[in-house]
Each structure stands twice: as C-alpha cells, then as structure tokens.
C-alpha cells in the first residue's frame, strides 16, 4: 500500500469525500498502489468519524425532560413577561414625569419703547474705559501718570 508521494495530498482529500481532479482519476486507473491506499484511507476516515461519534455518544438520563419541567412548574411566572411588564411600567412613569413637568417660565418681552430706552450701542462700551478720568486731565509739570521702576541697566550708569 504505497501511494505515490506526488498524489498523497490529493488522495487524502479524495478519501475524505473531496471530488478528484481528472488527472487523479486517470492516475488511479493505472496505479494499483494509489488505488489501494485510497481504499485504506477511506476506511481510516470512516473509523475516525465513528470514533469521534463514540466519544460524544453519552446518553442523558431518561428523566431529564421531567426534571426541567418540574423546575419550570416550580417557578411558573415567566420572567420574560415580568420584564415586559416592568419595562412598560417604567416607560409609563417616564412619560408621566416628562409630560407632567411644569413648563419653563416664559421670557417677558419688554414694551418696545422701554427696550429702546435702555438700549446702548456697542461702541459706547468700547469707547469708555476706567482710565477716562485720568486721561481727560491735563498733566502737571513733572507729574508721572505711572510709577516706573529703574531697569538696573549697567551701561546707563
């Protein structure tokens, strides 16, 4: 049972149920070793499949479904319905809270004339500053508006 090394991978695929290429089919028609290997590998693949099935072939206890039903009947209220009811209640409460909230106080619009009397153009605030009284006064001789500190420049001495 010596398969040609060249065809080994394709033979494995074919043994697992893959469709053979025309070239492999032609080769199998003439090569006894590869045909024999293919049959042996098919048997091995079937053995693997059976082995895997046996590994997980445990049977549950016969009363398994009854145990589940007993558990269900112990707590018959379906939490799913409970959750739906709770969600509906929460939605209702939130709607009531939102709709029942007092409206925000309306902004009182003053009578147009009153509004005009208090209106100031923006330039007024830009033209006036806290230094206005100082700047309007005529400075006296030798008077300094701002105290300046000596800079400590050595070259000046």
């Amino acid at each position: 049972m010596n398969a040609c090394p060249k065809w080994r991978e394709e033979l494995i695929d074919h043994a697992l149920g893959g469709l053979p290429a025309a070239a492999l089919q032609a080769h199998l028609a003439t090569c006894a070793g590869c045909s024999e290997a293919l049959e042996a590998w098919r048997r091995k693949a079937a053995q693997i499949d059976t082995g895997v099935q046996q590994l997980i072939a445990a049977e549950p206890r016969a009363q398994g479904p009854e145990r589940v039903l007993t558990q269900i009947q112990r707590s018959p209220v379906k939490p799913f319905y409970g959750r739906v009811a709770l969600a509906a209640l929460m939605l209702t409460v939130s709607l009531v809270v939102v709709l029942d909230r007092p409206a925000p106080p309306k902004k009182v619009v003053p009578f147009p004339v009153m509004a005009l009397s208090t209106w100031r153009s923006p330039t007024q605030s830009l033209l006036h500053s806290a230094a206005d009284p100082l700047l309007r006064r005529v400075p006296r001789l030798g008077e300094k508006f701002f105290e300046t500190k000596p800079t400590g420049d050595k070259n000046a001495q």
């Binding site: 091995k44 693949a45 499949d49 997980i56 049977e59 549950p60 398994g64 589940v68 039903l69 799913f80």
Partner: protein, 169 residues
Amino acid sequence: MMPGQDPDLADFERLLRDTHRTVFQVAYAVLANPADAEEVTQDAFLRAYKKFSSLRDPQKFRAWVARMSWRLALNRRRSNFRALRRDGSWFRSRSVPNDPEAEASAREFESRLQEHIAGLPEKLRSALLLSAVQGLDARTVGIILNVPEATARSRLFLARRQLLKTLLP
C-alpha cells in the same frame, strides 16, 4: 397537554422532548462529563423557557437552545479547567464489551484519537465534535459557532483531514 396547561408550556414540552438528547450531547462534547452536561442541559432549557416567547420561529428552537447549551458548557469548562487537568483526560474511557483483543485495539485507537483531537485548534475541534452530535447538520453547527454554514463545513473538513494525516502510517 394537560387541561388548563399553559399553551406555551405545551409547545415547549414537545420541543424539549424532541431536542433534549441533542442539547445534552452538545454540552457533553464540551465537558466530557455526564453530570456536568446534565446540569448545563437543564440550565439551557430553563433559560430557553424564560425567553421562549421571544422565539419567533419554532423551527429554530433546536439551534437556539443548542447554542445556549454550547455557551453555557464553555463557561462551565472554563471554571472546571483545573479539575479537568487534574483528571488528565478530556474524555472518560468507555468500556468495549466482550472481545479483549478488540477491546485493547479499540482502546488504543480511541486513546490516540483523543490525543489528536485534543491537539486540534479549538475552532476545528469545536466543528468536529458538534458535527458528530446526532441531529445537528452543518447549518446548525454554523449557527452554534456563529459562523456561516460554509465555514462550518470547511472547518469540519480541515479537522478530519488533520486527523487522518496524523493517524496514517
């Protein structure tokens, strides 16, 4: 159905009996322990019942509850991981009756197979074991693993290929 019984419960009971074995085997494929698999199966069905009203298509019940069982079993396996390592084997050995020679041969093959299955990548191993569960087709395996059917088929093929290559002389 008993008189006065909840119609949902009657439907659920019918589906429970139809799928109980499959759901158990899905859990067993992960846990390799019948007692743990029983508990996970029961838990999966209780959860399924709680959400039963949200299941629109009863045709999907098998895949739906099998997926629950799969995920619960994976969670339990994580928590049992130390115990499984201590026990040393993934699957318990089963007895092969009568012929001692055949028994020895079968045990040897089973042991090698277990070893090689344990050495498969997780994705391939999951596809292989789930595909071996009776009542699960490739589409359902895909749903459980959250992959397209073609991917489930491809993983199964790769798993079998890897096993065959390692078990060939």
